[in-house]
Symmetry: C2
Subunit: 371 residues, 2 copies
C-alpha cells in the first residue's frame, strides 16, 4: 500500500494536534521500556559525527550500535565513544556482512550523494532499514532502484527531510492547509552558501550536481510539503560566474520557477557563490508567512501576518522561533524513523518523496540547459 | 546623442558623491532665483492629486500651472487650490490647445497606462516636455512612437522611475557597482498587492496587463538599474486562482526568471491576489543586500551585510532607512526632470529606459503563455 501525501498530512496533523513535543513521534505512544532502534552510521563525515550520532545519544528511542567507515582510526575512536563493539565496525568492503549482525536494525546513510544508492541497496539486501540523507540520490534510475530494493527486502526507507519534522514548518503547513493564509498565490524560496574549494560537493560524480541538489532541495521540498501539491511548468536558468576551478563540474548559480496545480507561482534561487540564508515566503490572499532563517540546523523562525477580517481592521501576527536547536532536530529525525520501524508505521518522507524531488531536480537541470 | 546607462551611472554617481540631499538635483547647481519648471498635471487620479501635485507645492524648482481632466468640478476645485488660472484647465478634447499656453513647460502624465502613449505624443506635438508615469505604455510600438514623437519635437521625455532617484536604491547601486558586495551571483525581487474589484488596473485596455506592468516592473527595473546590465533568458509562469471576475482580462500571479550577461540569476514574483510587500535581495560573493520595504512611497529600508575580510572575522552591517518619505520622493522626481529641462541635461530614466522594460515585460508575458 502506497502512502499518499494526503495520508501523511492527516497522520502528521493528528499527531501535531495531540502533542506539540515530540511532535511526529506522538503519532503513537511508545512504551518507555521498549528497546531502542539500533543504527549503524554509514560514513563518518560532519553530518554523522557532529549531528546524527550525538542526537542518538540524547534519544530514548534511537542509539548507535554500528559504524561504517574507510578510516579505521576514526572508527575506533568513535566506537570507544559510543560503546560500539569492535565486531560492529565495518568498512565499505565488508559492509554486506552486516546482515549477520542482529544488533543493527537500520543504517543512517551520511555519505556523499553519489554513494547513497549503492549503500542503501546493499543495506536493504543485508536486511536493514535505511534512513538516507538528502538528496536521496543523483538520478531517477537510482532512486527507483533504491525504492525497489527496500520494497523487495521488506525494509523501510526514509529520506532525511528533517524540515518535515520541524515545528515551525509544521506550523507553516498548518497555516497553509487550514486556510488561515487564504488562497496561496505565490512563494519565494532561497538557500545557498559560498563553497570552499576542494569539497566533495564540487565533484560531479560524488555530488550529482551543485547547490540545487545540496541546498536548493530545501525550499523545493518544503514548498511541495506545505502545499501538498506536485509542481509543473519547471523553468530554470543556471550560471557559472567564478572561473576559479570550483565550478568545472557543477553549477554555481541557479534560479528556477514552478507552478503548482492550484495556480501557485513559485520562484527559487540557490548558489555556491554567495551566502544565501535559508528563506521562504508564502503569499496568501489573507496573509503572508515568512520563514527566515528557514532550513538550517541552528533554529528557524516563522513570522506570519494574518490580515484583519476586513480592510483597515487589525490583523494577527504569529511569531514563532523554532523551539528546538541542533541536535534536537536530529533526535526527532532518528526517533521518527525508529517509531516507524518499531510500530510498523508508514514513513512520511519516504523513498517515493525523494524520488519526486529527484525527478523535479532533473527537470530543473534540463530546463536550465545543464544535463 | 543617446545617453547610455553607463553615462547616467557616471552622472548620478558624481552627483551622489557631491551632495547627499538633494541627490540627483545636485548634478548641477540651479540658481535660487531661476524660474520654476511649470507642469500641467494630466489626469487627476490619486497619484497626481495625492503625490505629484503636493510635491510640486513643496518644491523650489517645480510648480503646477495647468490641469487636464475629464471632470470639470474636480479640475476647478484643484485649480483654486493650486492657483491655476481658468484658461490653463484643459479637457482631453482641447488638450492640444496647450501649445498656445506659454505658462506650461511640461506635462506630468498620471493617466491609466493605456493612455500614456496618446497623451505623451500629443503633448510633445504641443511643444511640451513629458514626465510620464510607469509603466511607460502597454506595447513596444507605442513606446517607440512616444520616443520618436518627443525626439521630433525636440522635447525631453522622462519615465517616472522614482526609485532611480531614491537614496537607498542609489546606495544599493553604489554597493553593487563598487564591488563592496563582491561578484553578484543572484537576486530575488517581489512586489504585489491584493487588488480590489472594479479598478482600472484590471481592465486590459487601460492597464495593458496585470501586476507585472503595475508593480512587478519595480524589481525588474531596479535590478537592471543596480546591475547596469540587460537581462536575457526570460522565462515565466502566470496563473489565475481567483475566478471572481477580477482576472478575466489580466493575470493574477506571475513568477519569472532572467539571467544577466555577467551570470546573475534573478527570480521575481508579482501578484494582484495577495499582499506582497516590496522586497529585493542581492546575493554577492562578499555580502548580502536587502531592501525591505523596497519600492513603496512610504519609505524604504536597506540592510547590507558585508562579510569580514576572511572567514570568521567580523563583517560590517549597513542599516539605512530611506531619509525621505512621501511626498519628498516625488519632489525629487519633479525636480530632477525640471533640472534636466532647465539645464538641457540628458535624462537618466529616459524613454529608451522605459522601452527596454516594455520589451522585457512583453517577453515575460510571451514566456508565460499570455500574449
Amino acid at each position: 500500500m502506497q502512502l499518499t501525501r494526503r495520508d501523511f498530512n492527516r497522520l502528521a496533523a493528528a499527531s501535531a494536534a495531540f502533542s506539540a513535543v515530540p511532535r511526529i513521534v506522538a503519532q503513537s505512544t511508545p512504551a518507555p521500556s521498549q528497546k531502542k532502534t539500533r543504527y549503524a552510521a554509514v560514513g563518518l563525515g560532519l553530518i554523522s559525527v557532529q549531528h546524527f550520532m550525538p542526537a542518538c545519544r540524547q534519544s530514548s528511542m534511537s542509539e548507535i550500535t554500528g559504524l561504517v567507515s574507510g578510516h579505521p582510526d576514526k572508527a575506533r575512536r568513535l566506537a570507544a565513544e559510543y560503546n560500539v563493539p569492535a565486531d560492529s565496525i565495518y568498512t565499505y568492503e565488508n559492509y554486506d556482512e552486516m546482515r549477520n549482525n542482529p544488533n543493527i536494525d537500520a543504517v543512517y546513510i551520511g555519505l556523499p550523494n553519489g554513494m547513497h544508492a549503492e549503500y542503501t541497496i546493499r543495506a536493504a539486501k543485508a536486511g536493514k532499514h535505511v534512513l538516507c540523507e538528502k538528496p536521496m540520490t543523483t538520478s531517477v534510475a537510482d532512486a527507483e532502484a533504491m525504492i525497489a530494493a527496500c520494497k523487495q527486502a521488506d525494509r523501510k526507507l526514509m529520506i532525511a527531510y528533517r524540515c518535515q519534522l520541524e515545528a515551525t514548518i509544521l506550523k507553516a503547513r498548518d497555516l497553509v492547509q487550514t486556510g488561515a493564509l487564504g488562497k496561496i498565490q505565490g512563494a519565494q524560496g532561497a538557500f545557498g552558501f559560498n563553497a570552499q574549494p576542494g569539497i566533495w560537493r564540487l565533484d560531479r560524480k560524488l555530488a550529482g550536481g551543485g547547490p540545487l541538489m545540496d541546498v536548493g532541495i530545501y525550499p523545493l521540498n518544503t514548498t511541495r510539503f506545505l502545499f501538498g501539491e506536485e509542481p509543473g511548468d519547471i523553468k530554470a536558468n543556471s550560471s557559472v560566474i567564478d572561473h576559479d576551478g570550483r565550478f568545472d563540474q557543477v553549477e554555481e548559480n541557479l534560479a528556477w520557477i514552478m507552478k503548482f496545480p492550484s495556480g501557485i507561482t513559485a520562484s527559487y534561487n540557490t548558489t555556491y557563490g554567495a551566502q544565501m540564508p535559508g528563506f521562504l515566503r508564502i503569499f496568501g490572499s489573507k496573509g503572508i508567512l515568512t520563514l527566515e532563517p528557514a532550513f538550517g540546523y541552528e533554529g528557524t523562525h516563522l513570522v506570519a501576518r494574518i490580515n484583519g477580517p476586513s480592510r483597515g481592521q487589525p490583523g494577527t501576527t504569529i511569531d514563532m522561533p523554532s523551539p528546538d536547536k541542533d541536535p534536537i532536530e536530529f533526535v526527532h529525525e532518528a526517533d521518527y524513523f525508529a517509531n516507524c520501524i518499531q510500530n510498523n508505521l508508514p514513513v512520511g518522507p519516504s523513498g517515493e518523496e525523494g524520488l519526486r524531488d529527484t525527478r523535479i531536480m532533473m527537470d530543473i537541470y534540463r530546463a536550465s540547459g545543464r544535463t
